[in-house]
C-alpha cells in the first residue's frame, strides 16, 4: 500500500472529521497557495523548499536537517512530566520529531499547520502514522480542522502543567505566515490565561472533584458515554434550555417541541420546567457542588442525565435514570473502555450551558436552538422563576441585547459570551445556531428567532429519545468492567507504593536540610539529591498522582507558587526549596491516605452494585 493510501486509511480511522474535510477539499478545484519540493541535503537526508508568492523559503538546513533540528531543540527544557508542546508549523516534521525525542512518553503535542498544501504534500510523501494515529498528538490544519484548536488547547493546558508548557514555532513559519502567527499567539495566550483561572477553580473545587470522581466510578461502570450517541439523532435540532430569566417567556412553548427536537436542559432549569410540566429529553450536570434541589423533581430524577465524573456525586446518586458521561477528568479517562480513545476533549467554556453547547456539537446536531440563554439580567433578576441567585455583589458589564439596547451583564456571563462568539465562528457553515431566548444579550453568530418560529422551521423530524437511550447498552462489557476493576486495584497498589516513596523522600529532604545547615555538600548530599529526584519522579509518574495532586491543588499552589523564585545566596535558596518541598510532600502524604480511603470505598461500591 502506498504511503498516501496508508495515511488516508489512518485519517479515516482516527479522525473522521478531518478525513471528510480533506476529501472534500481534494474534490473542490483548489488553487495551490504554495509550491513544495524536496531536495537532498549534504548529509543525504531530504529538506523542504516552499515557494510562496514567487519567493522561495528553505525550510531546513541544506547541510544537515537532523543536526539543525537537534541544535534547535536544545533551547527548550522538555524533561517535565506531562509536558505540553504547542507548535506553529509542521514543515517536514524534522523539528517535531526532535522535540518528541527530547520529551518523556506522556508529553502532549498540539501542532497548528497554517498550510493545507503542506499537509497535502505530507500526506503524499511522508509516513504520518506517528502523528495521526497518536492520541497525544493533535494536528490542526487550517481549512480542515482548525476550529478545534481552542478546545484542544483548553484540554491540554491545565492548572498543573501551565508552568511547563513550551509554545514554539517552526523557524521559518513566522516569516511565511505572519498574520496566522499572530492569531495563533493570541489563541495560545487566551487559553493560557484561562488555565490560570482554572488553577483558582481547582484550588476551590479540587477535593470535591476528586471525591466526586471516586464516588461516581460506580455509575461510570454502568453508564453510557456520549460517544455512543454521536449521530443518533438524525436531522433533529437540539434545544438547549438554560435557566436565564427569559425562560419564563417561552417555557410553555417547549411542550410543542417534544418529539420534534431533542430538548436538553441544564440542571438549574429543572425546577422551572417541572413547575410548567415540561419534560426534557436529557439533563446536563457538571458542577462539583451543584445544589441537590435541582434533582428534587421526579421528572429530573428519571430523565437521562449527561454528566461529568466530577459532577456532584450526591446528585448522581439521587438521579435514577440513565447516566451518560462526557467531559471526563484525566483519571476517569484512563478507566474508559479502549474503543473510546483518550483525548477527544470537548470544550467546557466554564458553564453548564457552554458545556452543553460543546456536547451538542460533538453529538453532530446541525441545528442548535438556545432558550433561556440570557447571559444578562432581566428586570434585576438573574434566573428564571423571578429568581435572583447572585450570592455576592457582581462587577457589571454593559452588553448589547437582541433588540440593540444596552443591558447589564455579569463578569462570568460576559466571559461566556466571548466563548460563544469564538466557538460559533468556528462552526460557520456547519452548524446553524438559533437564539430563541427572546431576550438577553445578543450572541454574535446566532440567528434571532422566536421559539415558536424555530420549532415550526426546524422541528420537522420525529424523534423518540427514550427509544434511542433504551437501544444503547452500557459502554462496559464484562471484559471492560473487569479491566476497570483491575485498573482501580492497581491504582490502590500504586497509592501504597507512593505512600512508601513519600515517606522516603521526606526523610531525604529532612537530611538535606541538615546537610545545608552543616554546609556539608559532600557525597551524602549528592546521593540525597539524586534520591529526591528519583522518588519524586516515581510518585508523579503513577496514575494515582492525578488524584492526589488535585486533592491538594490549593495547598500546592500556596507552597509551590514561589518555589522557582531565586533570591539571596545559593545555599539559602536550596534550603528554602527543600523546606517547601517537604511541606508539599507532607500534604501529599495526607492526600494519599484520604484518596486511598475514597478509592477503597468506591471499589466496594462498584462490587456491591454488581
Amino acid at each position: 500500500m502506498s504511503c498516501y493510501a496508508e495515511n488516508l486509511k489512518l485519517l479515516e480511522q482516527f479522525d473522521k472529521d478531518m478525513y471528510v474535510n480533506y476529501l472534500s477539499w481534494l474534490d473542490e478545484e483548489y488553487k495551490k497557495q504554495v509550491v513544495l519540493r524536496e531536495e537532498v541535503a549534504k548529509s543525504g537526508t531530504t529538506y523542504l523548499i516552499m515557494e510562496k508568492n514567487g519567493k522561495q523559503f528553505r525550510m531546513n538546513s541544506c547541510y544537515s536537517p537532523e543536526n539543525e533540528a537537534r541544535e534547535w531543540a536544545q533551547q527548550f527544557s522538555l524533561n517535565n512530566i506531562r509536558q505540553v508542546v504547542i507548535m506553529y508549523g509542521l514543515g517536514n516534521g524534522a523539528f517535531l520529531a526532535q522535540l518528541r525525542q527530547s520529551c518523556k512518553e506522556d508529553a502532549v503535542f498540539v501542532i497548528y499547520e497554517p498550510s493545507l498544501d503542506l499537509f497535502h504534500h505530507l500526506m503524499q510523501h511522508s509516513d504520518l502514522q506517528r502523528i495521526i494515529g497518536n492520541g497525544r498528538m493533535h494536528l490542526l490544519v487550517q481549512g480542515l480542522n482548525e476550529y478545534r484548536f481552542g478546545n484542544i488547547l483548553e484540554a491540554s493546558l491545565s492548572w498543573d502543567n501551565i508552568n511547563h508548557v513550551v509554545a514554539t514555532e517552526h523557524p521559518k513559519y513566522k516569516e511565511i505566515y505572519p498574520q496566522e502567527y499572530v492569531c495563533f499567539c493570541q489563541q495560545v495566550n487566551n487559553e493560557w490565561v484561562k488555565a490560570n483561572m482554572n488553577r483558582n477553580t481547582m484550588g476551590y473545587f479540587g477535593q470535591q472533584m476528586v471525591r466526586n470522581t471516586c464516588e461516581n466510578l460506580a455509575y461510570l461502570s454502568n453508564g453510557h458515554f456520549y460517544e455512543q450517541y454521536i449521530g443518533r439523532f438524525g436531522d433533529a435540532p437540539v434545544i438547549i434550555v438554560s435557566a436565564g430569566p427569559s425562560l419564563d417567556l417561552n417555557i410553555e412553548k417547549l411542550k410543542s417541541a417534544k418529539g420534534k427536537a431533542v430538548i436538553i436542559a441544564v440542571d438549574s432549569a429543572m425546577r422551572e420546567l417541572d413547575k410548567h410540566g415540561v419534560e426534557p429529553d436529557f439533563i446536563v450536570s457538571i458542577d462539583p457542588k451543584k445544589s441537590l434541589r435541582h434533582m428534587e423533581p421526579l421528572i429530573a430524577r428519571r430523565t437521562p442525565l449527561f454528566c461529568s465524573d466530577t459532577a456532584r456525586s450526591e446528585l448522581l446518586e439521587q438521579h435514577e435514570g440513565e447516566k451518560i458521561f462526557f467531559g471526563l477528568s484525566p483519571f476517569a479517562e484512563k478507566l474508559k473502555p479502549q474503543q473510546y480513545p483518550e483525548g477527544k476533549h470537548l470544550g467546557t467554556g466554564g458553564s453548564v450551558s457552554t458545556s452543553t453547547f460543546s456536547l451538542s456539537v460533538a453529538l453532530q446536531f446541525k441545528t442548535v436552538i438556545f432558550v433561556g440563554q440570557d447571559l444578562a439580567y432581566k428586570n434585576g433578576m438573574s434566573h428564571a422563576g423571578n429568581r435572583m441567585v447572585d450570592k455576592e455583589e457582581q462587577k457589571l458589564f454593559q452588553v448589547e441585547d437582541i433588540f440593540g439596547n444596552m443591558i447589564a451583564s455579569r463578569h462570568d456571563w460576559y466571559q461566556f459570551l466571548g466563548w460563544y462568539e469564538e466557538n460559533i465562528k468556528k462552526l460557520e457553515g456547519q452548524v446553524e445556531i438559533i437564539d430563541a431566548t427572546e431576550g438577553g444579550a445578543r450572541i454574535p453568530g446566532t440567528k434571532i428567532m422566536s421559539l415558536e418560529k424555530a420549532i415550526e422551521t426546524y422541528g420537522k423530524a420525529e424523534i423518540d429519545c427514550k427509544k434511542i437511550v433504551e437501544e444503547i447498552n452500557s459502554a462496559y462489557t464484562t471484559e471492560h468492567y473487569e479491566r476497570m476493576l483491575t485498573d482501580i486495584e492497581n491504582v490502590m497498589k500504586d497509592m501504597e507504593n507512593s505512600e512508601r516513596d513519600i515517606k522516603e523522600v521526606m526523610f531525604a529532604l529532612e537530611q538535606l536540610c541538615r546537610c545545608c545547615e552543616r554546609k556539608d555538600y559532600g557525597k551524602t548530599y549528592k546521593k540525597l539529591t539524586k534520591d529526591v529526584v528519583r522518588l519524586g519522579a516515581n510518585i508523579k509518574e503513577r496514575d494515582s498522582y492525578i488524584l492526589m495532586a488535585s486533592w491538594i491543588a490549593k495547598e500546592s499552589h500556596d507552597i509551590l507558587g514561589s518555589i522557582n523564585q531565586m533570591d539571596g545566596n545559593i545555599e539559602d535558596n536550596e534550603m528554602r526549596i527543600y523546606k517547601k518541598s517537604l511541606d508539599f510532600y507532607k500534604e501529599l502524604e495526607v492526600a494519599a491516605k484520604e484518596v486511598k480511603q475514597l478509592l477503597r470505598g468506591s471499589y466496594k461500591k462498584i462490587i456491591d452494585k454488581e
Binding site: R58, N60, S61, E68
Partner: protein, 77 residues
C-alpha cells in the same frame, strides 16, 4: 575555537541572532590571528568560506551561516 564555533552555530540554529552575531564577530577576530602564517591554499579556502558565510549573514539566512561555520569552517581548522 571549536567550542566557540559550536556555540555560535547553536545560537544561530536557535534564531538567537543578537548573541549569535556577536560570536560571529569574535570568530572573525580570532581567525585573523589564526590565518597568520598558515599555508596560502588554506588561507584561500578559509577566505572563501568566510565570504560564503558573510553572504549568508547579509541574506539573513542564519541557518546557512550556522551550517557554513559548523560544516565548512570547523573541519578546516
Amino acid at each position: 575555537m571549536e567550542e566557540l564555533i559550536m556555540q555560535t552555530s547553536r545560537l544561530l540554529y536557535q534564531n538567537q541572532m543578537e548573541e549569535g552575531n556577536k560570536l560571529v564577530n569574535e570568530i572573525i577576530n580570532r581567525l585573523i590571528v589564526y590565518l597568520n602564517g598558515q599555508p596560502a591554499d588554506k588561507v584561500a579556502r578559509i577566505n572563501q568560506i568566510l565570504i560564503n558565510g558573510l553572504n549568508a549573514m547579509e541574506a539573513g539566512d542564519a541557518v546557512l551561516l550556522a551550517d557554513i561555520l559548523r560544516f565548512d569552517l570547523l573541519p578546516e581548522l
